[in-house]
Amino acid sequence: MSVPRPGEAWREAPLLFERSRPGRRAGRPPQPDLPPADVPESLRRSRPPRLPELSEPELVRHLTTLADRTFGVDTGFYPLGSCTMKHNPRVHERLASLPGFRDLHPHQEDEAAQGALELMWRLQEMLAEIAGLPAVTLQPAAGSQGELTGLMLMRAYFADRGEERDTIVTADTAHGTNPASVAMSGYKLEKVETDARGNLDLADLRGKVNERTAGLMLTNPSTLGLFDEGIEEVARIFHDAGALLYYDGANLNAVVGISRPGDMGFDIVHYNLHKTFSQPHGGGGPGGGPVAVRDTIEPFLPAPLVVRDGDAYRLDSNRPKSIGRVRGFAGPFGVFVRAYAFIRAYGPGLREMSEAAVLNANYVLAQLRDVYELPYDRHCMHEFVLSARELKREHGITALDVAKRLMDYGVHPPTIYFPLVVPEALMIEPTETEPKERLDEFVDAMRRIAGEAEEHPELLHEAPHGRPVRRLDEVRAVKQPVLRYLFDGDPALVEAE
């Protein structure tokens, strides 16, 4: 692969506010011939907002310039571990834009939204089958909100049983969202270690589960990309203590149609519709985080749920034991359209999706394990974690340097420095949609970079060389925060002590 050498023009992108010229404009809203409204002066705006003033051609060019300076899955290989950056089918965008979906008001009467309600009901049913659990709420807006919903469900479940439990166990490999959700939901946190094979350490676990334990939060396969071989015993330990198991669905892409969280012993599961079911990530969102539960927990699910009465569908808000509402309306419907279309396209063939994801990851791993350290020497699932520890020791090259150099080879870097249990971690998830040639190119780039680390370490320290900017002064961004455009005369952000 060649290293791109873009022209200087690519490196310059004025802000909207710098492109702005007084008196220029694009949109002209309707102005009916009506007398001006009578509004108390005290409620009227005293100073006009300094929105940018641009003509439409300049605005379109600006947005296009910014798109050009952004790298997506549509641009190239994006093996960002635990994020499942798979191809997003284009037909989904067309489907979500059908007027019957896009222009449907969420307060529309149920009888005038039957198609939308049926789609949601069917999606609930299909997700239930995939998780191996009977009841599903579509409401949570993202995976982390699914986690919080799951923890609220645990609280409601135990309160209903008159049990006082205050602790949640997480793995030391957990995503940061797990402990953050535990804290937000008012629980105490207990961490359990990983054993030498990359499974939960059962001895450590047994000592930390007792009558105060509300439950476990676990990603399986873990963030190491390994299926927990002791999962049946883990489930037994928690269930014997009367506690519940929560499945963080971030890595569900490895096991769809192969092993279901409900069959593994989990009681509550969240899905990431933006990972497994191909809602595009949108530069940070939107996502969708539906939650499935066992029938003993169903009464506590957020309201409303979509239910079917004969041939008709309706939103059911009459749920007296519900934890309440976690988001507006019944959830991010446009995300449901895409996830529903994705599942209908594959059908039971979703199993082949997971098989391809696991095959692709193992293929890449097999060709990198001799040049990068593999901390847990097993076949991986859909992703794997390498360590740049030896490169650092021998050549002073860090995981960050490897990541930045990959950009010069036209590849988005993998997740780095996570999970925390692996030093200099490089977490690589190719996904099922990549062809063998892209994987071969990536392997070639990673092997070349390992060679460069020895022969031309400065190439790596100074990388990237071919992006619109080089490495950033991130300390300055924190010490002297500039968090909005400062117009002439605006003071810099001053923080009160």
């Binding site: 509004v39 037909v91 019957g100 919080l148 507006g328």
Partner: protein
């Protein structure tokens, strides 16, 4: 149909490279006892054309805002979404990028978020905005979490005229935060400042909405002052599309401004995905939830953008984070940026003036008694001589959705209909609504 790229020949070569004879061997780490051992019970696969036909059939059974003359609002509004919003939504680079953890790969989306933050700050009169929250309801819970951490007080006060779904979400989150929730009733459609002060004496924060859910303009500066007098943070839940004509919350002393961004640049989409916005005064910057983009320079001194103040966030701070939020609503927020930039200051003011004028016109033309005296922005509540839900049913039979029956949320309001008027409604549309309401309530 599938979106896979591996051929049979590829698979053979890849298995050989791995050193296994089958894909099944790779799954041996999955204990036999937890394997499914059968096909998933899902409908058979569909090709793209069949998929489109199936979903078009489902979509055809929904009555959307273009299929009847609709005056539905109550939190979600069909303001015009300009075609430039499609530039954001359809460019693969924006659509298919992840959160910009690697700034050198993501300068475009980072700069766009920085511009979005600036626009939100400018409209709300605040110093700092995050990169978006899930929606207008969850950002209210986020704001409560900020208040909880900057105060010893363990109570939040919500105006009853605040969107019911927003109040429900705050109540769901509050027990986990250790917060008690108290509501202050409306008086004739608006909140009484003295009552608010009394309720807020030992509260960390007060949340009110401007314009409120009942369609009334609150005495917002007085409510903010009432909160401050009680030593509570004033949090305003506002509509971006109103802020070309209505005062910015920062100008009347609010600590935090939040709201549902849908009205600015997103379609109704049966409730989402949309974006929530959250902006605050500078003293709260280290307690802000979610992503924030900041400006810095690269090693050559070139201006650049980066996710910053990340020690607030879950991936660094874990259980000590200011929120668990990870995925947000960036794409929708950027559609909002494109829309607000397309409007510019003059266009946004004109949208607001049109809404105000249409609301005033509706008050005069609709043959029903307005339920409240307070002035409106773009929604007006009317008393109906029969249950409002029945009015909705009958009017829909005549091809007009006349609005939202407030009895769905408020006791004693079964005879109140909330009519929304965006700039897309015309004088003739209002006349038709008036005629239909006259007919169905006769």
């Amino acid at each position: 149909m599938s979106y896979l790229s591996i051929t049979d020949a590829d698979r053979e070569a890849m298995l050989a490279a791995i050193g296994v004879s089958s894909v099944a061997e790779l799954f041996e780490q999955v204990p036999a006892g937890v394997r499914l051992g059968r096909e998933l019970d899902l409908p058979p696969p569909l090709g793209e054309a069949e998929l489109v036909r199936h979903l078009e059939e489902l979509a055809s059974r929904n009555v959307h805002t273009g299929a009847e003359l609709s005056f539905l609002g109550a939190g979600i509004y069909d303001h015009y979404v300009p075609a430039v919003a499609d530039v954001v939504l359809s460019r693969g680079e924006f659509l298919t990028a992840y959160t910009p953890y690697q700034p050198e790969m993501s300068q475009g989306v980072l700069q766009a978020i920085f511009e979005y933050q600036t626009v939100v700050c400018e409209l709300t009169g605040m110093d700092v905005s995050n990169a978006s929250g899930y929606d207008g309801a969850t950002v209210a819970a986020d704001a409560c979490f900020i208040a909880r951490h900057v105060s010893d007080r363990r109570k939040v006060v919500l105006a009853e005229a605040l969107n019911p779904q927003v109040r429900q979400v705050v109540k769901t989150y509050a027990p986990g935060f250790g917060l008690e929730v108290v509501e202050v009733p409306h008086r004739g459609g608006v909140t009484d400042p003295d009552e608010l002060t009394a309720a807020a004496r030992d509260a960390a924060a007060v949340i009110f909405q401007q314009p409120n859910f009942l369609g009334c303009l609150e005495p917002a500066p007085d409510l903010a002052e009432a909160a401050r007098e009680a030593g509570a943070l004033a949090i305003a839940h506002v509509d971006l599309m109103s802020l070309g004509v209505l005062e910015a919350p920062g100008a009347y002393g609010c600590a935090i401004a939040i709201g549902e961004g849908q009205s600015a640049g997103n379609w109704p989409s049966y409730g989402g995905p949309h974006y929530g916005f959250l902006a605050a005064q500078s003293e709260f910057v280290r307690r802000m939830p979610g992503r924030i983009v900041g400006e810095t320079v690269d090693v050559d001194g070139r201006r650049a953008y980066v996710l910053t103040l990340q020690t607030r966030e879950q991936h660094i701070r874990r259980e000590k984070a200011t929120s668990n939020i990870t995925t947000n609503q960036t794409l929708l927020a950027l559609a909002g940026l494109a829309t607000l930039s397309w409007l510019g200051p003059d266009g946004l003011r004109e949208v607001g003036e049109t809404c105000l004028a249409l609301a005033q016109h509706a008050r005069e033309r609709i043959p029903l008694e307005p339920a409240f005296e307070a002035p409106s922005f773009k929604e007006v509540a009317f008393r109906t001589p029969l249950p409002a839900r029945e009015v909705v049913r009958r009017a829909r039979e005549l091809g007009v959705h006349p609005g939202y029956a407030l009895g769905r949320d408020y006791e004693g309001m079964d005879d109140v209909l909330l009519v929304a008027l965006t700039e897309l409604r015309t004088v003739e549309d209002v006349d038709r609504l008036a005629a239909v309401l006259a007919e169905v309530t006769a």
